[in-house]
Every structure is written in C-alpha cells, then in structure tokens.
C-alpha cells in the first residue's frame, strides 16, 4: 500500500470505497460522465434509427438522386453515419481527456494503491 493513503489504517477497504462513492467529488465525476455519455448515446441511437427507419419506409426519398449523378440520398445518409460516428468518437475522447481523466486521476490518487485479495472477484 502506498504511503499517500489518506485514510486511517483501521478503515477497511469497503468503508473507504463507500466514503469515496458518497463524496461530492465522486458525485461530480459521475455527473460529468453520465451527462456526456447518456445524451450522446440517445442522440446517435436516434440518428441511426432514423436512418434505418427511412431505409424501410421512405424509399422514394432515399432514392432521390443528387448532383445529377448516381449518388443518391441513401448513400449520402449512410456516409453521414460514418461521419457522425467518427465525430462522436473524437468529441468523447477530447471530453474524457479534459474533463473526466483529471477528476478520476485525482480521486484515484486519494484512494491510493489498493491491494487485492487473491480471491475470485474481479
């Protein structure tokens, strides 16, 4: 166990985790994570569902040709799914680097090294 462990030695690992989980700092981390990933998941899922539903029910619209070529709405819509996936992945990585990692690292350092019993659990 590292020396920077702030908690008293009598405190068990379980109590320590419980205390951290109930701290304001951890609540902030949870809020920051869920505040990004939940709305983003809903957004990309709806955007993808829209694409699948249009493919099923709006064939005429999807077949509309663009720029006077053989490229149609269906193809562009499909390619936009690639663009949105790349974009969301990039946005998340930027957000995680800037907003999540610093808080997570700080809490991790406060907890210090945790030794595992060699039992069956995770």
């Amino acid at each position: 166990m590292s020396t920077d462990t702030p908690s008293a030695p009598a405190e068990s690992a379980a109590e320590r985790y419980l205390a951290v989980q109930r701290s304001d700092e951890f609540a902030g981390l949870r809020r920051a994570l869920r505040g990004f990933v939940f709305p983003m998941t809903v957004a990309f899922f709806l955007w993808y569902a829209l694409y699948v539903i249009l493919s099923a029910y709006a064939r005429d619209f999807m077949g509309t040709k663009l720029f006077g070529s053989n490229i149609n709405v269906a193809l562009v819509f499909g390619l936009l799914q690639f663009v949105s996936t790349f974009l969301i992945a990039w946005l998340y990585s930027r957000y995680a680097d800037r907003k999540l990692d610093p808080i997570a690292d700080r809490i991790h350092a406060e907890i210090g090294e945790v030794r595992h019993d060699d039992g069956p659990r995770g």
Binding site: L33, V52, A56, N70, F86, A89, Y92, I107, H116, P120
Partner: protein, 557 residues
C-alpha cells in the same frame, strides 16, 4: 469470367500460390505463437496478454478480431448481389462501436480481470451469475465460430479451384471442405493453447494489416478503373445488375415490399428494423471483443484502442462499398451466383477480374486471387482464435475456477484447464461445422449479434449503471435474453417452413421474422428489470466498490 477459375492454367497457378501464401502466413503466425508462449507464464499473460499492449496495438487487434469472414466476404457479396442493402451491415457494424466506446470499454477495463463475467458477478453471488455468463459466452462464441468455419469450408472449393468431378490431392470438393475445417480448427487450437492471448493478439494484428492492405489495393484498382469517379462506378454496377437505379437504393434484400400482401410487407420491414437493432447493440455484448479491453494497462489505453479500432474498422467498411459495387460491375451477379449462391466469393472473384485487367492476363489474375484468398484465410483464422480464447477463458475462469472450485483453484491449474477447454471447444466446433456446412454464414453471424445483444448487453449495462441491480436480475437478464433469442430463431423462417430454410422440408415456423432482435433485446432488458425488483438482495458496499473502481481506475488489475 466463370471460365477463368476453371481454366486449368490460371486455376492451377492460383491454387499453388494460394497454398504457398497461406503456408507462409501459417509459418509466420506459428513462429509468433511459439515466441509468445515463452513470454506466457502467469494467468494474466494467458488471459490478457500480460496487459502489455499499447492502445494502437490493441486497436489493430480489435480490428483483426472484429472484421470477420462475414465482413470481408459477406458484405461484399451482399452488396454485389443486392446493391445498397449490404451497406446497412457496414453501417450497423461500425455505429455499434459507439456503444462500446461510450458505455462499456473503460468501465469494463477498470473493474474486470479476465472475462465478461468478472464485471457481471462483481457485486453478485458468484456461482449463479458466472454459470449464466459462461453459458451465454459459449453460446454466442460457438454460433460465431460456426459461421467462420463454415465460411472457410465454403471458400476452399473456390480458392483451391476444385470443381465438381475434379479432385485435389485425391480429395473431391466435399472432402476438401471437411479437411479445411479440420485444418482451420487445428490451427486455432494451436494458436490459443500455445500462444494464449499474446499469440492470438499478434495473429490478429498481422491479419488486420494484411486485410487492410488487400482491401485498399483492390479499392484503388476498382477506383482507378473508373478514373476515381464514384458515380460512374455506381452507374456501371446498377446497369450490370439489371435492376437499374433500384440497385443503389435500399429495398432489394431487406424490407422488401410484396405487392398485394401488406402483412408480409409489414413483416419484411420489421425484419429490417430488427436486423438494424441487433447489429448496433450486438458488438458491446460480444465476449471475444470485451476481453480485448483487458490486454491494455489502463482505461485510457482501452479508450485509445477503441478510437483506433473505430478508425480502422470504419475505413475498412468504407472500402466494402468499392469492393461490393466493383464486384457487381466488373464480375456481375450471374458469375458470382454461379460460384456461390450467397455471394460469399464476390471479393476473391473481383480480385481475379482486377488482376486480369491490371497485371497482364491469366498470371496476374491468378496472383491477385491467391493474395486475396490467403488474406481471407488469415481473416478467418484470426477471428476463430479470438472466439476460442474467449470461450475457453470463460469455461476455465468462470465455470471451473469460480463455480466448481469456488475460487480456490491455483492459477497454474486454472490456465491448464483453459488450455484443455480450448481443445474441447475447438473439437466441438470442428464437429458442428462439418455437420452445419449448409448453413448461411451471414445468418449465423447476425444470430450471434442478436444473441449477444439480448443475453449479454442488458446485464452489462445494468451492472455498470444501475445501483439496484442484483443476482436475480443478472440471471434473469442473461437467461431471458439468451433463451428468447434462440427460441425465436428456432421457430423463424430461417430454420423451417421456407424454401431457403435450414430444414426446407419441415415446417414448425410460427415467428415471422428472421432476426429476433426487435423482440428479444427489449425482452432481455425487461427480464433483467423484473428479476431485479422481485429480489430484495442489494450489496451497497460492493456497488460502491464497483462504481468507484470503474470510474476512477482505483484497484484495477
């Protein structure tokens, strides 16, 4: 075109070259495997490659693990035969990675150790949850394994140029298929038992490079042929298909409108939505993908590896457009279906046509075919190794060490059991694949995705995000989702009651859709909720530990 494969000279050269290139790949990967075995000493080495891979290496390996025969051969084939509808697979398979990136990868990396069940059972009673997770892991992996090995068997007749009535080394086409399945099975057992996760990972990295290089080369040649004008490629493909503009629109394969039959039309549209949901939610529930996140040292590296994987996989799926439409335009659906009704040989046939065009006739055709054929075999080998590792890890770590031995097994013993499990699972899948040769490859993979999304994903998401979730909920979620998916498929038109079914002469079909996802995935979530609320069990302290570890990386293995 059809005559080229049969032509003795070209066919013979391609066959010999394919064998040489394939043997070279096998020699290199076996060398890596033996090297990796010397570095494999602990359970962490065997299950998780010592957690020593970088984000980029793991991203490549994820690509190698994920882009299966269904991606390379299947999607190109569906696009070549049905046009735009094949692109739906590419999109679903890619968008699915956002679920893994945003909701699963990092939290799983932080809180688990070797298997998916490590996270599911974290705050639950170990034995029931690990048993359920092992059952589900092995079910999903075996369906996926079957698809790959059946694909390998189906390809070999084309790739070795064995026609009905002719023989190769004294084997006819049917014997050669069986021999190929046994060979692929034996190799995957060696990779896994000898090389463990380290060996498997390097095999997947090498394969990812080869697959990307092969697909890029073919794409460049196709585009060069059309002077990099996408519109004229599409126009040519549509004209060659005989279906005109409809070939470039959704609807030829999925969600077909049947004139005068609104019920069937409705079912077809539901089937398309069902496939779409299964594809996008399946990835984050695939055990062989999930265990890849344990091979990197930190959650940050897990995030990086998913970002690399999204880049690599996304690029590859963009290339499938050129491969599929290129095959439609340059090979033609008639020539493709003459080789393989499902279109699985479209990509190698395209390679042959391109070689003919760009690299001087028969010899060029044979060479490019041989290269792409060897890439296809490498693709299959890398994926089956990953699947075998995932299922044998779960059998050894979840079932043997934690259910039977209640966590008291020694590490050395557990790894020995994992190696034996790989042998058993390999043998079982060889036997099943020989028996299941007539099954459709794409169907098996879509089924594996539906089963993974129904049986695993609800339990994973509830575990990570729902405080109240408990043992009863986890067991209900896994068995409920798994059973509903498998049962609905069994009573679907893919198994019986239609001309294209597995058992075309029988009819016990009553479920109208061929993909169960739209019913079984919500059902899995519902079961998990019901199972949770009917039980009072709740471990406040273990949930606190799970949540803190998952979000901060404290105490991570």
């Amino acid at each position: 075109m059809t005559t080229v494969l049969a032509a003795e000279a070209g066919g013979g050269t391609a066959r010999n070259l394919t064998i040489v290139l394939f043997l070279a790949f096998v020699a290199v990967t076996l060398g890596i495997t033996i090297w990796a075995s010397r570095q494999t000493k602990t359970a962490t080495d065997f299950y998780a490659g010592g957690r020593s891979f970088s984000g980029f290496q793991n991203g490549m390996a994820i690509g190698g693990d994920y882009m299966s025969a269904a991606s390379f051969l299947g999607i190109a084939g569906i696009i070549a035969l049905y046009g735009y509808d094949g692109f739906l697979y590419s999109i679903g398979f890619l968008v699915a990675w956002l679920v893994a990136l945003l909701l699963v990868a990092e939290l799983l990396r932080n809180s688990g150790r070797y298997t998916m069940a490590d996270v599911l059972a974290f705050r639950m009673r170990q034995r029931p949850v690990r048993t359920a997770a092992a059952v589900s892991t092995i079910t999903v992996s075996i369906f996926y394994l079957l698809a790959q090995m059946v694909g390998a068997g189906a390809l070999v007749a084309l790739l070795l140029g064995i026609k009905p009535g002719t023989t190769f080394l004294g084997m006819d086409a049917a014997t050669a298929k069986v021999a190929t399945i046994i060979l692929v099975g034996a190799l995957m057992i060696i990779y896994v038992t000898v090389g463990g996760m380290k060996g498997t990972t390097y095999v997947q990295i090498v394969k990812a490079f080869l697959l990307m290089a092969g697909a890029l080369l073919m794409t460049l040649l196709v585009l060069a042929k059309y002077k990099f004008n996408l519109s004229s490629l599409l126009g040519d493909a549509a004209a060659a298909s005989g279906k005109g503009a409809a070939f470039l629109e959704p609807g030829l394969r999925y969600g077909r409108e049947v004139a005068g039959d609104p019920t069937q039309t409705f079912y077809n549209k539901m089937d398309l939505l069902s496939l779409g949901i299964a594809l996008v939610l399946g990835t984050a529930g695939l055990p062989h993908i999930l265990i890849r996140f344990y091979t990197v040292p930190t959650a940050k590296a897990a995030r990086k590896s998913v970002l690399w994987a999204i880049g690599i996989i996304g690029t590859f799926y963009l290339l499938t457009l050129a491969l599929g439409f290129g095959a439609a335009a340059l090979v033609g659906s008639e020539a493709i279906t003459a080789q393989d009704k499902a279109g699985n040989t479209a990509a190698p046939q395209l390679a042959e046509a391109l070689g003919m065009d760009f690299f001087g006739g028969e010899l060029g055709a044979a060479t490019l075919l041989a290269i792409i054929a060897a890439v296809a075999f490498a693709t299959i080998l890398a994926v089956v190794a990953g699947l075998t590792l995932a299922s044998s890890s779960s059998l050894a770590h979840d079932f043997y060490a934690n259910v039977i031995k209640r966590g008291q097994a020694s590490e050395r013993r557990e790894v020995a059991v994992a190696r034996i499990s790989a042998l058993i699972i390999g043998a079982v899948s060889i036997a099943l694949s020989i028996y299941a040769q007539n099954l459709n490859v794409a169907f098996l993979v879509a089924l594996a995705f539906a089963v993974a999304a129904s049986g695993n994903l609800p339990a994973i998401l509830y575990s990570l995000f729902w405080k109240r979730f408990n043992t009863s909920g986890a067991v209900w979620a896994i068995y409920g989702g798994l059973l509903s998916a498998v049962v609905l498929v069994f009573f679907s038109p893919v198994v019986s009651g239609s001309a294209t079914a597995m058992f075309p002469n029988h009819d016990w079909q009553w479920f109208p859709l061929s993909n169960p996802g739209i019913i079984s995935i919500p059902f899995g979530f519902l079961c998990g909720w019901i199972g949770t609320v009917i039980s009072k069990e709740h471990d406040e302290e273990k949930y606190a530990e799970l949540e803190v570890r998952a979000l901060t990386g404290a105490g991570a293995h």
